[in-house]
Symmetry: C2
Subunit: 249 residues, 2 copies
Amino acid sequence: MKKEPYKTEKDFLKAYDANAFDRPNVSVDTVIFTVSGGVLKTLIMKRENHPAQGQWSLVGGFIDVHNDQELLDTAKRKLKEKTGVKTPYLEQFCSFGSKSRDPRGWSVTTVYFALIPSEGVELEAGQGATDIKWSAVTDGKVKEKLAFDHAHILEECTERLKSKVLYTSLPVHLMPEEFTLAELQNVYEIIMGAAMDHKSFRRRILRADILEETGKMKDTGRRPAMLYRRNGNENTHFFVRNIESAQMK
Amino acid sequence: MKKEPYKTEKDFLKAYDANAFDRPNVSVDTVIFTVSGGVLKTLIMKRENHPAQGQWSLVGGFIDVHNDQELLDTAKRKLKEKTGVKTPYLEQFCSFGSKSRDPRGWSVTTVYFALIPSEGVELEAGQGATDIKWSAVTDGKVKEKLAFDHAHILEECTERLKSKVLYTSLPVHLMPEEFTLAELQNVYEIIMGAAMDHKSFRRRILRADILEETGKMKDTGRRPAMLYRRNGNENTHFFVRNIESAQMK
DNA sequence: TCTATAAATGGCACTGTGCCATTATATATT
DNA sequence: AATATATAATGGCACAGTGCCATTTATAGA
């Protein structure tokens, strides 16, 4: 296959001989979430090359069969390359594979989802991208048209995030080092798109034993609030009586 | 690559030029569960070809890039080919990909897990297998040595099954057309490896509204028990107060 | 008729939750 | 200095689902 640039996607696909392989293409995509400015956002990049050249897409790429040891390495590598974040919350979400999702032919992508605090992130377009940015996610969608089936992937991934937030402490990974319970509750509410009861939220999150007091207070102009940090008990899923009505006002 | 049979796996691998491709191999594996004889079992097949020729493995194979439209098609096709079952409960579990899990080089497998009733299954070794059978799963393991990383996959998949059983109605897919609540509870207990309280089980499963009375009774020698069937409300997850202590005696 | 066994129900204390009111602690205003 | 205002944090209680154990119901067999 030639390595020169192609004027159109059609030219590119003509030169790309899918039949040279009888095995699907494999890639890793990462849905990177953060919350900032009171809004859930996801990281998207502008594709440098064909196919879907110039379109926005999720952060992803091909497995480096020489350097990546496992799938998670590919996801970590991509995330670090684009954001500089070395220790994100990273969880395998789902794999999508079909004949039609990529114009080059049968392809499979394993999608990870990541949660990172908005602070201290240094975006860099890097390899394969001409631009990169946060885009607000409303109702599982971003306003930009996404390449391939990435809009579908984002939608399902956001759905998963929303459902897990109901009974897990995942949102702590979206917080900075130190935060108040009100700030944490606010992030929960932003993701769920619904208000929660103060008292019940405090009871559940404190009972889950994933936070510890810093001893410091945050003065916000009114009565100061206790600052908390994660205490290292990461894997706590805390459950509610009825997932349907849980905490919804 | 030659198509003749190879005497040893070494011979096979020598002829197999991994560097001919810069993309990983992709396959689909299926962990097929059933409960019979009071035991959780999974379907394993004896591999006909290299690599791992003659070893037992999970049911799986390569994507047929010409006929399969999506990943789920591959899983369905394999399951039907081996068991004849057309409408299993089938759910994507997880993908495993690494440089080392297959001696041929970088490979990714997307694993599905299936639940089927033990009755009416016609096992057939079929393509790529010289034998096929049910094997008891105890503590996430079968007594046969499994090829590749399949023992690891089985272990994680069994773990997932066990955890989901606590708060879902998944085991109904392991039951025959008609069954009593005691039989269903028994299947729950087999999977979880722990006894449950009669009354609480009845309350929860009936409240979940996934079963309907058939009107018929099953006479078991003692007081006859009501026979139930699924009513079509498949997707009901019913939650418990405390996932840790849930129903454990 | 009595006994054994399994199916199914009754009853109640316990616990987490939703809900709303109240108290505590800061700043801004007069 | 006293008051108003806003947010943080707690108190209190009814309600619902659960765990637990006792009781009742229905059948076969002795």
